[in-house]
């Protein structure tokens, strides 16, 4: 667990923020480039000195300007995963992995290199030198090296931003496995909502050097006022669900969520597996009456919660937030809003195309709260 409150003045900006994160799981810090994310990571790991404030990890102060505590980076017990791999070029992959001589902390369980190598798929790389690794391979080695330093917490600063899309898809599940198998809390700094939605439980949004919002990923992605901050990813809602049963005959899987039951194409997941699913705003349509005969499997009754102001005067669309037990975003035209007389409080039926819940948007989440 980490809690902190820091102030640091830079030439043209001020970083002034406080937060505390959970015992386990991934806490995401989202912010646009230049929001001070890397400076924050550097201050936490001891590479940059804050002007004032404190940082506490598992009830141990590692920095406190009042008490004059300022532990050196090597004594902070923080694993730092950098944007670039920063592997030691003169050492083999194996020696990179074994570099840390930090003894294990009381909290972390002893990790063997074999175990980490196996989880991250590094077996064939052990004798290679960093110069011959691809970007994705190097980043995997860096993850392993950080884990093997027995940290109390892992700070990841945009670990995927230098990789292409395919490589990202290769590393994302590995970060999930690190979270689930090694039980190390992770502070995940990123400007990609896609990554955050897939990985994180809790989300902190940094804007202009301070925390603009703090909540669960589900909550914050459903909030209209944060749209300008998080708007870069494809508009959609994030909901938690649980595998209820499989319909092998039709190749479908039933998912239970707060709004009822959602039928999606067959998922390779055990019963009761908890999932996070994402419903894109453009994959939801609205009708004022219950459609009689329809090809849609997933129709839910709900109420209009909020209608977003169109982005500009002649914009065809206005995103609408519908409450069907959970808030979901719907992308409708302004014409439809007038035709259906949509306004907050109006009852409405929302059809969700089963196919919009694709596998890519699913993240197996042991830690997710029950729907």
């Amino acid at each position: 667990m980490i809690s902190l409150s820091l102030r640091k003045r830079f030439k043209n900006s001020l970083l002034d923020l406080s937060f505390s994160s959970e015992e386990t799981g991934i806490t995401a810090l989202y912010g646009r480039s230049g929001a001070g994310k890397t400076s924050l990571a550097n201050m936490i790991s001891g590479l940059l000195k804050p002007d004032e404030g404190f940082i506490k990890i598992d009830n141990q102060l590692i920095f406190c300007s009042q008490k004059g505590i300022d532990l050196k980076p090597e004594n902070r017990g923080i694993g730092y995963v950098f944007q670039e791999a920063r592997l030691f070029p003169h050492k083999t992959v194996k020696d990179n992995l074994l570099f840390s001589n930090r003894s294990k902390t009381p909290k972390s369980r002893p990790l063997s290199i074999e175990e980490v190598v196996e989880v991250l798929g590094l077996t064939n790389l052990l004798d290679r030198r960093p110069g011959s690794l691809s970007g994705g391979e190097a980043q995997r080695v860096q993850l392993g090296r950080a884990i093997l330093s027995h940290p109390n917490i892992l700070v990841m600063d945009e670990p995927l931003s230098s990789l292409d899309q395919t490589k990202k898809q290769e590393i994302l599940p590995l970060i999930e496995r690190l979270r689930d198998e090694f039980q190390i809390p992770i502070l995940y700094i990123s400007h990609s909502m896609e990554e955050i939605i897939r990985l994180a439980d809790r989300l902190l949004i940094i804007e202009d050097g301070s925390i603009a919002a703090d909540g669960t990923v589900e909550e914050l992605t459903g909030r209209l006022d944060l749209r300008p901050l998080t708007g870069r990813y494809e508009a959609g809602s994030v909901i938690n669900a649980q595998v209820l049963e499989h319909d092998r005959h039709y190749g479908l899987t039933k998912l239970k969520f707060a709004g009822g039951i959602l039928q999606v194409p067959f998922l390779e997941a055990d019963k009761d597996t908890r999932l996070r699913i994402r419903i894109r705003a453009r994959d939801v349509s609205l009708s004022s009456t219950l459609p009689d005969k329809t090809s849609e499997l997933n129709v839910f009754r709900g109420k209009v919660k909020e209608i977003a102001q169109p982005t500009h005067r002649n914009a065809p669309h206005a995103d609408t937030l519908i409450d069907i037990g959970v808030p979901i975003w719907v992308r409708v035209t302004r014409l439809s809003i007038d035709r259906l007389s949509l306004q907050p409080g109006v009852e409405i039926y929302a059809s969700i195309k089963g196919t919009s819940v694709d596998r890519q948007n699913l993240a197996a989440r042991k830690g997710a709260k029950a729907p």
């Binding site: 590479l47 030691f88 070029p89 001589n101 930090r102 030198r129 110069g131």
Partner: protein, 229 residues
Amino acid sequence: MLSPEELNVLLLSLKVSFWATACSLPIGLIVAWILARYEFPGKMLVDGLVHLPLVLPPVVVGYLLLVTLNPNGTIGRILSQAGIEIGFTWIGASVAAAIMAFPLMVRAMRLAFEMIDQRLELAARTLGASPFRMLFHISIPLAMPGIMTGTILAFARCLGEFGATITFVSNIPGETRTLPLAVYTLTQTPDGEAAAFRLVVISILIALIALAISEIITRKAKARLGDQK
């Protein structure tokens, strides 16, 4: 092939240069590290002092050594009580050579340290490495090609040292008469030309060997760092 006198001169030169280089190596590393990594008041002065032997006439350096380290002076007496005789001995020749070669050594090493990607050093720290461990496992290995170059340059400079040596410890056969001094002596002797020429050839050979070794080591170190990507 070599006459006993020639062999004597050669071995003495190698001995003087070896000890001069070996003893200044750790000091050179520390000074280079400090100059590469720290900002402090008086840094310009330290930098200037280190470089002084490079720009001063060697005779001046030799004379200054004679004044400060002569056997009857304070430092000379303390050293001779400790059993170290500097004045007019091969040890004194080593001291003179070490001081003359020091700037070359420090320059190469400092440049090597400055070239290291400091982000790697910071990564090492976050992995739990103390500054000491970082230095020996990351910084020095990464700077190795430069450290090697500096060492070999210094060794070669020591072998060639003349002015400071002859001024400080004189030209005593078997004790302080190194290769350059022997060449000089022979050129001053009637009919010494042929013998001097033999020593000149030896000098050239040694220099070429040193350069070749330096090149091989640098190439190996670079290949090991795997930076031809």
